[in-house]
Structures are given as structure tokens and as C-alpha cells.
Symmetry: C2
Subunit: 357 residues, 2 copies
């Protein structure tokens, strides 16, 4: 068999994007040997500009980009040859575009790529959120992959697709899908005060700059919605009841005001965990979704159950289906981090490349 050459374009050069670019370069020999594929970066784009060469960006250019990314200067250090609008018209038909931005503006560009017969890989969840009507086509397109939208590189989406492809029917999806909130629960379980956990996690960069962006549960709800839609349920965000892990009275505060007021919640959360423990239980932030909708909330689970024994930041996703009815099919492990996320995107790119004729 001869090598198949597939041009690839990366949108986004943050932590995940630059890690992905390095992985693409570092695995070229592996991918050639194992899959008879050669993925050739022809385009890189981020907020600061676009690099494009239809013959493949040179080794020098790619190394300069990686060096710049490591120094957080990104593309503004290298020659910018095109704008993003130019890029859209330049993408060849057999290319694969990976969206590793957090942008809400990429969906229509990606639809153009798909319409031209290309492949699209998303780590960005935004193109899959919004009304079902707006995104339905994307979920039905076999040339779109989005493994990293849930659990980073854990093979959750791929497994759901495999079950559905082989005629199984999904009944329920349940899991812990936030490393940050998993860590919060593990620390609360150890008796550490809520405000102290959040302050430390924020300091160490484990939360968003405003921890309420994690604590709101909105990101977990987005993952649950993506899983539900993948399972074939045409749900909207409003079909999910989401419990925030902070009090409604603290919504209007600035970030610093919230951090200062967080200790007003210490007693309440300590109490909830104490009560759970008294019954041999503990609390986990669990998303649960089925054909009619779902919940995203703090749930009481037996201490010796799989969710109860889950270690800090690990993710856990259980699929209950017609075939996996008594015991679910479970995938668990770390669900965040640039290396495993980038690997998930690269895995999707390889699978799409194999499908491109």
C-alpha cells in the first residue's frame, strides 16, 4: 500500500493547538508505518493571523510556530500571509480542519469545509451547542469527529458511535465529566472547607479565572448535551436541569467579591457531605441524561460504588444501552490536559484521514 497524503489545517494555537502541532510532527513516522498516512500541516490560524502553504508549511516555519507558542507569542512572531476569510477559500477538498479554539464563530466555516468533502475535528464544543435545528446536520455527518468534546482523549464519543453503528440503543448516560468539580468533591469529602479548596484550585490554575465558570456546571451540561445528541436524542440545553455549586445570591458579584464571600458557603457544603457520610454515602457532581432530558447536580452515591471510589480529577462515563443493560459499559480516566486532549484530536484526524478517498 502506498502512503495517503492528507493536508491538515489547525484553527487555534493555544495549549492544545500547539501540543497537537507538535504531536503531528512527532508522530509522522509512526502514522506512516501504522496507518500508511502522511498528515501535512498546510495551514495554521489563530486570532493573530493565518499561515498557509498548499504544499505544506516548511519545517522551519512549524518549528518557529512551536517556539513562539511555547513563549505565548504565537503567530505574531512569524510572517502572516493570509486572513481567515482567505483561508476558507484556500482549503482543498480532501483536507482535514481541526478546531481547537474556544470560539463561537467557527461553525459556518466548518460547515463549508464539510460541504466541500473535507473532514472536521472539534475539541471546541461551541459548534455543537445551540439549538438542535442549527446543529442537527453536524451530528449526522460522518466526516465530523469530536472525541475531545467530552473526557478529552477518553474514547467516549467513538464508543457511542460504535454502539449506534452496530444497532444498539442507548438508554441512559451517566457520569462525572469535570476534573475540577471531581477535585472539589474529593476535597470536600476530606473535610477541607469549600472556600479554601476553590482559592487553592484557582491559584494553581485548575479553575477558570472566575471559578464560577466551573462551579456553574454549564460546561458539564454542554458535555451532557453533546453526549445526548450523539446518542440520537434531539435535546436542547433547556432539557437539562443544572445545579450550580454556588449560591444564587453570589451571581451578581465580581470575581474578587465572590472569592471573598465564598466562605459563607463552607458550612452548607460541609454539612451536605457530613450527612451523606453518615449514611455510608458521599457526593459527586453527576450528569445523568436520557431520551427525555437530564440532570447535572450533586448526587448522593454509595462510598463503595464506582462513582464513590472515583479518585479526584478522574472522569467516569457509564453507557447503559439495550446490550449493556444490567452492567453499563464504562470508560474512565483523566479527562483534561493538553497532551491527552491533543492526542484525542490527532486520533480523530487519523480516523477521518482513513475515510477520505
Amino acid at each position: 500500500m502506498s502512503q495517503k497524503v492528507i493536508p491538515v489545517i489547525l484553527l487555534g494555537l493555544g495549549n492544545v493547538g500547539s501540543t497537537l502541532l507538535r504531536q503531528i510532527i512527532d508522530t509522522q513516522a509512526t502514522v506512516a508505518r501504522r496507518k500508511m498516512l502522511h498528515l501535512v500541516p498546510i495551514g495554521l490560524a489563530d486570532i493573530s493571523g493565518v499561515l498557509f502553504d498548499p504544499e505544506g508549511l516548511s519545517e522551519n516555519t512549524l518549528q518557529a510556530v512551536l517556539h513562539a507558542a511555547a513563549n505565548k507569542r504565537l503567530l505574531d512572531t512569524v510572517t502572516q500571509t493570509r486572513t481567515l476569510d482567505d483561508l476558507e477559500t484556500l482549503i482543498p477538498a480532501r483536507a482535514i480542519v481541526a478546531d481547537v479554539t474556544a470560539s463561537t464563530e467557527t461553525r459556518s466555516r466548518l460547515q463549508t469545509v464539510l460541504a466541500a468533502g473535507g473532514g472536521v475535528v472539534l475539541a471546541n464544543k461551541n459548534p455543537l451547542i445551540g439549538s438542535w435545528q442549527a446543529v442537527q446536520q453536524l451530528f449526522g455527518n460522518p466526516m465530523l469527529r469530536y472525541e475531545c468534546a467530552v473526557g478529552a482523549g477518553l474514547p467516549v464519543i467513538d464508543t457511542l458511535h460504535y454502539l449506534l453503528d452496530t444497532g444498539d440503543q442507548v438508554h441512559q448516560i451517566e457520569g462525572c465529566m469535570s476534573g475540577t468539580l471531581g477535585y472539589l468533591c474529593a476535597e470536600l469529602e476530606r473535610g477541607i472547607p469549600y472556600s479554601q479548596i476553590i482559592a487553592q484550585a484557582r491559584e494553581q490554575g485548575y479553575t477558570e479565572p472566575d471559578p464560577r465558570d466551573d462551579l456553574s456546571g454549564h460546561d458539564v451540561a454542554r458535555k451532557a448535551l453533546i453526549l445526548a445528541r450523539t446518542a440520537g436524542w434531539p435535546l436542547e440545553m433547556t432539557d437539562l436541569a443544572v445545579e450550580a455549586l454556588y449560591d444564587e445570591s453570589l451571581v451578581a458579584l465580581s470575581t474578587e467579591e465572590f472569592m471573598a464571600a465564598a466562605d459563607t458557603l463552607d458550612a452548607a457544603y460541609a454539612n451536605r457531605f457530613r450527612q451523606a457520610r453518615a449514611g455510608g454515602h458521599t457526593l459527586r457532581y453527576v450528569a445523568q441524561v436520557g431520551p427525555e432530558g437530564g440532570t447535572v447536580k450533586l448526587r448522593s452515591v454509595p462510598q463503595d460504588s464506582p462513582l464513590g471510589t472515583l479518585r479526584g480529577p478522574a472522569n467516569y462515563i457509564a453507557l447503559r444501552t439495550q446490550r449493556y443493560a444490567d452492567l453499563p459499559l464504562v470508560i474512565s480516566g483523566p479527562g483534561a490536559g493538553p497532551e491527552v486532549t491533543a492526542a484525542g484530536v490527532l486520533g480523530d484526524m487519523i480516523k477521518l484521514a482513513q475515510q477520505i478517498v
Copy 2:
């Protein structure tokens, strides 16, 4: 996109083979819609004969085979048109052959299919056992898939391949890979005597006719060897130290003699579980393998660990890699049964069909 038509041939029409044939027929609309694929059964073979039609076996023929299989009469009720040697010369180049036999004689036939550019799916583990030299080529062939060799339809092999494709390095694989022995451990943990568990499990068809075929650990060792070789370690069966779950003194007995003598082991196993429990532990039959070799044996694990909380027949496979170092990537769930095994084979067939140009 137009439908891609891929001829498929099944070797073996036992429980898994006939379930697979039914799934192929039942999912034709699903696979067409989701994957733009049409899998057309052109050949069926078992010990009693071969059916072959290069244009696709008729609906009537397929239904007759399914009906015969359900009544355990198999192909001898329908017209046999060819022998297995004929079949080999008749397989078209773009076909996919699924080996769902337990035969040790299929490897060279399958190599012929691969050499002609076809795809091969194995549920049969035998072609992957034997010396590394004899099977090395198979493990390196991207047109061979064997998801069901370990954990039935659980996506273990696919996940290992994805990790390796994206440049990860596997450090260790650990897990419980036998539903039968998982059940045995769960029952011993409950205090049921060894001989009673085995007699009941045998009666209900959960064990091989001679339970020592399960208790020897040989089947688990074969799975561990396949995982190790998939991970890139050129191991031989002799690199695995295997503990049988019965005494060496009982090897020479007939099946009935063994069943009658099994109660001589009751005290010893009850004692081992009692000792483990005293230390907050329990025992699980665990395969553990790394680049240099491995063990397959009864291991003491904390009661509140993932292996300790594993429910009866569930399988559990943990992959520790360069990227999943602190917390492993874990896949668990039921690892046996015709429906999930057939679905794993069908999933492999679909993935191969997507790769065939």
C-alpha cells in the same frame, strides 16, 4: 456520497456467528444511513459446509440459515454449494472475512485474504496465539481487527491502537478479563464454597464443559498475550506466569472425577478470602503485563479499589501509558455474551469497510 458496497464472509455459525449474521441484516439501514456502507453477505462457512454467491446470498437463504442456526442444525439443512478450499479461491479482493470460529486452522486462510487486499476480523483468538515470529505480521497489518479477542465488544483493542497511533507508549496493562472467574471470585467473597460455585456455574452453562478449561487461566493468559503484543511487546506465552485456580494434583482426573474432588479445595480458597478480608482486602483474578512479561493470578486488592468493587462477571482493563501515567485509562463492563461479541465484530467490519478503497 454514494453507498460503498462491501462483500462479507463469515467463518463460523455458532452462537456468535449466527447473532452476527442477524445483526448484519438488522443494521443494514442504520449502517447505510450512518456510514454510507452496504455490507453484503456473500459467503457463510462452518464445519458442515459453505454457502457462496458472489452477488450476495439471497434473503431466503440467509433467513433459512438463521432459522437453522436457532435450531442448532446449521448449514446441513441448506444446500451446500462449495467446500472451504473453494471458498478461499473465490473471495474477492475487497471483501471482509470474519472468523468467529474457535478453530486453530484458519490462520493461513486469513493471511491469504489479507495478502489479496481484503480485511479480516477475528473473534477467534487462536490465529493471534503461537510464536511471535508466526503472528508478528498479523499484528502489524492495519486491515486486521480483533476487538472481540479481549472483553467482547468493549473497545479495548481499538483504544490501544488509538493510543499507539497518536504516539503514546504503553507501560502496563492490568485487568480482570474473565467473566467466569470474576463470578467465582465474587461468590467466594460471599462465603460460598468453591465446589458449590463451580458445580452451579457449570450447570448453568457459565463454564466450559470441563470447568478446568476456565480455571486453568489459560484463556485469560491468551487475552493478556494479545494485549501485550498489541501494545508492541514481542512476548511469548512462556513470558506469562499463570496461576491455575485448581490444584495441580487434580490435573490428571477426568471431568467427573474433578467435579467430585473439587470440595477438597473448599477450605483452602475460603481461607485465602478470609485472610484477605481481615486486612480490608479481597481477591481478584488479575492479569498484569508489561514490556518484559507478566502474571495471571489471584491478587489481593483493597476492597474499596476499582478492582475490589468490580461486580461479578464484569471485565475491567486499565491501560497505564506515558500520557495516562498517574491515573490509568480504564474500560469496563460485561466482557462476554453473543450480542456484545457479535456487535464488536460488526463494529470492526464497519471500520475496515470504511478503510477499503
